[in-house]
Amino acid sequence: MSAIVVNEFARMRHLHVVLLVAVLFAVVTGIGLYAAVFNPDFDRTSASSWNTLLMGMGSGFTLAAPLLLAVVASRLVDAEHQGGGWLMSATSGVTPGGLCRAKLLALGLLVAGATVLVSAAFAAVGLAVGIDAPWPAGRWLGLTACLLVVSLALLALHVVLAARVENQLVGIGLGLLGAVVALISTAVPTWIAHLTPWGYYALSAAAGYVDGQLAGFAPSYLNIGGLSAVAAAIFALFTRSFDRQEV
């Protein structure tokens, strides 16, 4: 497996996937910091400043990640459609399903790196500004982990979709729609947010407004864990069915 994953990284070089993941990092950080620093509750003498940063990080992912994850997945998978890569890999012993798993693993590593960097950048801004309250380590790491799990689930969805439907319009269109769904999910009752994978960005929130007051709370770990189990099962099911198809 590791040789196939290394191969995927080699393939990414000419596709500028690393650049796209860097764009993901930049856009999420840009939107998030803008939302956090211009929030009227951002004030370094109170604990609410950490909460605005936590909220900003969430909104950066909500707005930017759905579309950009779709783009990243489509880019790496579409190369196989264009160059007859499925057949070529199959003749060298790598099934289409195995190829999809390798792609998810390779892209997942990059996305995980970007997510950790975003989280570190936000913490660095908070520490640099000199927020008086102590850094909320538990909620911070919890939010980072939840955002990463949701992003990986979306990535898995888009890898399968891009492999299954050759017309990349479908995946990209769904990504754009996903951004809208993710945005709506931050405002609707939580049971609606559970219905789509994009809604789980809203469930990851570690801070928010409760009755007009900015407050910190724990992310919905159990629900995010449920999403990861469902996503893993569906991804395994689909990639296994790819293995049995004729290419």
């Binding site: 500028h16 856009v27 579309l67 779709a70 319009l169 269109g173 754009l176 945005l183």
Partner: protein, 250 residues
């Protein structure tokens, strides 16, 4: 003219209708759903309705939608040996560029019409607003259609250069996001450099949001029209030169 007719026939069964119809309806409805959820009413009737439905749509989804359409229009040329057929054909480069941009612009115009129809329908049926959409917004819609042209030309160029479907869409998302930021900080002159900024600026006209003051002045309208004409001409000319020098691929 033949080149244009050919482009339209290539669109058949291309799923472009899905973007053209679904994108404006979903985005306009989203703006209004958010309004309903927040419990804020339409304090200023049709004006608030327009602001909630069209301004968010213009920030980045509209540019991304045009980018998707451009990728779709160029997709056929990047498949099989169609690129070489394009290189070997007798159609002048300028005609190809204009035909491609025109098809994308027509689709963008239809999108705007659907966005306006959705807004009016939701306003009259969904919210029971009295009267009709104020006529200035119909005029602004024409301006939005015009402002879609430079974005269409630029995305057509990007989709011509990049064989990937997704990469030009990412560029549009990034460009539109950055342009929105420039408009927020009050750099109005960005509309002369970034087509995305010109398009976003046109959607904000008369709403007092972001770069807009709420007054629709002749100066602002003239600036947007001038920016659109300038950017469209420059980008189309540059694109033609690039295509003229392109060669067959093996």
């Amino acid at each position: 003219m033949n080149a244009l007719a050919a482009e339209f026939s290539k669109l058949k069964r291309s799923l472009s209708w899905a973007v053209v119809v679904l994108l404006p309806i979903v985005l306009v409805a989203t703006g209004l759903i958010m309004t309903l959820i927040d419990g804020r009413g339409l304090e200023d009737g049709w004006h608030t309705l327009w602001m909630r439905s069209i301004v968010f749509y213009g920030l980045f989804p509209l540019s991304v939608g045009i980018a998707i359409l451009a990728s779709l229009v160029w997709r056929a040329e990047h498949r099989g040996s169609n690129w070489n057929a394009l290189m070997a054909g007798p159609t002048p480069s300028l005609q190809i560029i204009i035909a491609k941009a025109a098809v994308i612009s027509v689709l963008a115009a239809i999108m705007q019409v659907i966005a306006v129809v959705t807004t009016v329908a939701l306003g009259m049926i969904g919210f029971g607003l009295p009267g009709f959409l104020p006529p200035e917004y119909l005029a602004i819609s024409l301006l939005i259609i015009l402002a879609s042209v430079p974005v269409a030309v630029l995305q057509s160029w990007l989709s011509m250069q990049m064989r990937s479907f997704a990469a030009p869409v990412a560029v549009a998302f990034l460009g539109a996001g950055f342009s929105a930021f420039l408009l927020v900080v009050g750099l109005d002159a960005a509309i002369f450099i970034s087509p995305y900024a010109a398009l976003s600026r046109a959607t904000q006209l008369g709403t007092a949001t972001f770069a807009d003051t709420g007054d629709i002045t002749a100066g602002v309208i003239a600036a947007i029209i001038a920016a659109c004409l300038l950017l469209s001409t420059l980008l189309a000319a540059a694109n033609t030169v690039v295509l003229e020098r392109a060669d067959a691929r093996t």
